[in-house]
């Protein structure tokens, strides 16, 4: 390695080097060339190093993103040529009850999976942030669901939630409660799907919170304790404000994740998965997009749904920026 590199560093004399120069000037020339090479290397290397990311993104991210936008303005069948339709795909969505149903389902499943998940993760992190025997074991144990794929987790939970023979209804029976229809009733089905999401991600988020909690200076707790604050009070008034940026980070990541929910509802429903259950009661935007594109074959409409998802994320992002700005202004006024 080293020899080949240094050989290239010195470089063989390039053919366009003036041959008539006297000898001492040659080494000077080589030095200048080396300097030029060096300068070129310093200038170009950073771009070379970041280029694989941007090339991959351009080919498999940006170009498809824009092309999807263009397709959304056309009528496109699988394998056919696009036909210009203007905004018709979008106006069709606006009047489609399937679209509004999917949008609402994405929102409700997003809320009932994200909110309990992050709150439980906070509590779990607080528990793990103590002097603890076997903390390594507990950490790996709560992270184990993260190692399970969406497909595997969903197939297991679909059995546990089965209305007729699933263990969850059996347990409810042993507790003296009636069985719940976890498949065809809207809210139970949405809750079951949320449970899969919560199960897979709570431990992961708890570890992120734990790392943030460990960076909170202990003096703050000592001061709070001197002021007579209980452990709960310390959690609310010291821990939470101190790790606010991390909480915000997990909210953003989970929100993005929940707008894309696809595998859980699809596999949870078995043969009814793509339509999100017998009455579309848990069809998400991603599922509707897949159904439009790959079952109905209407790729233009599917593209319009994809772009609506992008618009939703942009709206959420804009909302976040506004909130942050308002808060900054408030603290400025107070300070």
């Amino acid at each position: 390695m080293a020899t080949s590199v240094s050989a290239r560093d010195g470089g063989p004399p390039s053919p366009d080097a003036p041959p008539s120069r006297p000898r001492p000037a040659r080494s000077e020339d080589a030095a200048r060339r080396r300097g030029r090479l060096h300068r070129w290397d310093v200038k170009a290397a950073p771009y070379l190093f970041v280029s694989p990311f941007f090339l991959t993104f351009a080919a498999f991210g940006l170009f498809p993103l824009l092309y999807t936008g263009w397709l959304s303005l056309n009528r496109v069948e699988l394998g056919g040529d696009p036909q210009w339709k203007g905004l018709e795909n979008y106006t069709d969505l606006a009047t489609s009850e399937f679209f509004w149903n999917a949008l609402l389902n994405t929102f409700t499943i997003g809320v009932i999976s994200t909110v309990p998940q992050l709150m439980m993760a906070l509590g779990l992190a607080q528990l793990l942030n103590t002097k603890l025997r076997g903390r390594g074991f507990f950490r790996v144990a709560v992270l184990a669901p993260y190692a399970t794929s969406i497909a595997a987790a969903t197939l297991v939970f679909a059995q546990l939630f089965n209305t007729d023979y699933g263990l969850i209804n059996s347990a409810l029976g042993w507790a003296g409660l009636g069985p719940v229809d976890w498949e065809s009733s809207k809210w139970p089905a949405q809750i079951a799907i949320s449970v899969i999401v919560i199960w897979r991600w709570t431990g992961y988020n708890a570890l992120i919170y734990l790392a943030a909690m460990q960076a909170v200076p202990h003096d703050l707790y000592e001061a709070a304790a001197l002021d007579g604050a209980t452990r709960w009070r310390q959690f609310v008034s010291v821990t939470i404000p101190s790790i606010r940026p991390t909480i915000l980070f997990t909210i953003v990541v989970s929100t993005i994740g929940s707008t894309q929910l696809f595998g859980e509802p699809m596999l949870y429903g078995g043969s009814l998965g793509i339509s999100g259950g017998s009455g579309n009661q848990y069809q998400t935007l991603s599922l509707l997009m897949y159904e439009k594109g790959w079952v109905t074959g209407a790729l233009g409409q599917a593209s319009a749904i994809a772009w609506v998802m992008l618009l939703l994320l942009l709206l959420l992002g804009a909302g976040r920026v506004l909130v942050a700005r308002a808060r900054a202004r408030r603290t400025k006024l107070e300070g």
Binding site: F54, L160, G166, S170, Q260
Partner: protein
């Protein structure tokens, strides 16, 4: 990266009381029970799994189900495909992300902060937005059911670039890079002799995280590959689970178990490092 900036008085935790252990015990139980039950279900006949109440203890059919899943449904081939895909994606992501992360962390160049912001912004773009044209491209190239259709779009990811940059900003003294330059080393040589040795722990962690993610990836592989062609484990599982009502659920869950066990083994042996990696990747404000 994690411990260096922590004030000396930070992180002195309270002692755990009995209630803490009880609650953590419950959390552990909830985390592990579905995995345990997956083993139970994979060791019974399909009929027993769907008889109320579902079994709670392991049965005698594990080997039968395994051999059926291996020979009749070809989970073995899916396992190999998944290993190939996840390994290629992990290796290329680690390599390219380290190069890009190094450039963003330590090399001055025009447009650096703008390009870095762009990298971070791309993390929020959902895969749904590119799937339709990607599918058309893959179809036109005749790549449906070919593993490269899953590998190529994942050669490098924004998360990896950002992760390596965060690590190298603190872990790599800029003097080391400058000294190597003064000695006449060119950039690739600096990467090989200075950056890679410093970055090795972060590269290992990133490699594991990306491997797990690629192993479990579902949405795009489900579109680009078919259960009948050369599926990854997740696609094969979707094919098993989404079928009609004559599905043998014990076999489906045996497949699920086969797809989970390799990663669980990785976690059992490298759990500490993965825990460290997840927390290191996320908590940098």
């Amino acid at each position: 990266m994690r411990t260096k900036t922590r004030p000396s008085s930070a992180g002195r935790p309270l002692h755990a009381g009995p209630l803490t252990y009880v609650l953590l015990g419950v959390a552990t139980l909830v985390s592990l029970f579905p995995l345990y039950w997956n083993v139970v279900a994979a060791s019974h006949s399909g009929k027993r799994v769907v008889t109320a109440p579902a079994p709670l203890l392991p049965g005698p059919k594990l080997l039968d189900n395994l051999s059926y899943a291996w020979n009749q449904v070809d989970m073995g081939e899916a396992l190999i495909n998944t290993t190939i895909v996840a390994s290629l994606v992990a290796v290329s992501t680690v390599l390219f992300a380290t190069l890009a992360g190094f450039a963003f962390a330590k090399l001055p160049f025009k447009g650096r902060s703008m390009l870095l912001a762009l990298v971070v912004a791309t993390m929020t773009i959902p895969p749904q937005l590119s799937v339709i044209p990607l599918y058309q491209i893959v179809t036109d190239l005749g790549w449906v059911d070919q593993l490269q259709s899953v590998v190529l779009p994942s050669l490098v990811a924004a998360f990896g670039v950002f992760f390596m940059r965060q690590f190298l900003v603190e872990a790599l003294p800029v003097e080391l890079v400058e000294a190597a330059r003064v000695d006449g080393a060119h950039s690739l040589r600096i990467v090989w002799h200075v950056v890679f040795p410093v970055a090795r722990p972060a590269m290992a962690v990133l490699g594991m995280l990306v491997f797990v993610q690629a192993w479990n990836d579902f949405f795009w592989p489900f579109i680009a590959l078919t259960p009948e062609g050369s599926p990854t484990l997740q696609v094969a599982l979707a094919g098993l689970g989404a079928g009609n009502h004559t599905v043998d659920h014990a076999v489906v869950l045996t497949g699920a178990l086969l797809s989970t066990v390799p990663l669980l083994l990785v976690f059992a042996f490298l759990g500490k490092h993965i825990v460290g990696g997840i927390t290191a990747g996320a908590v940098k404000n």
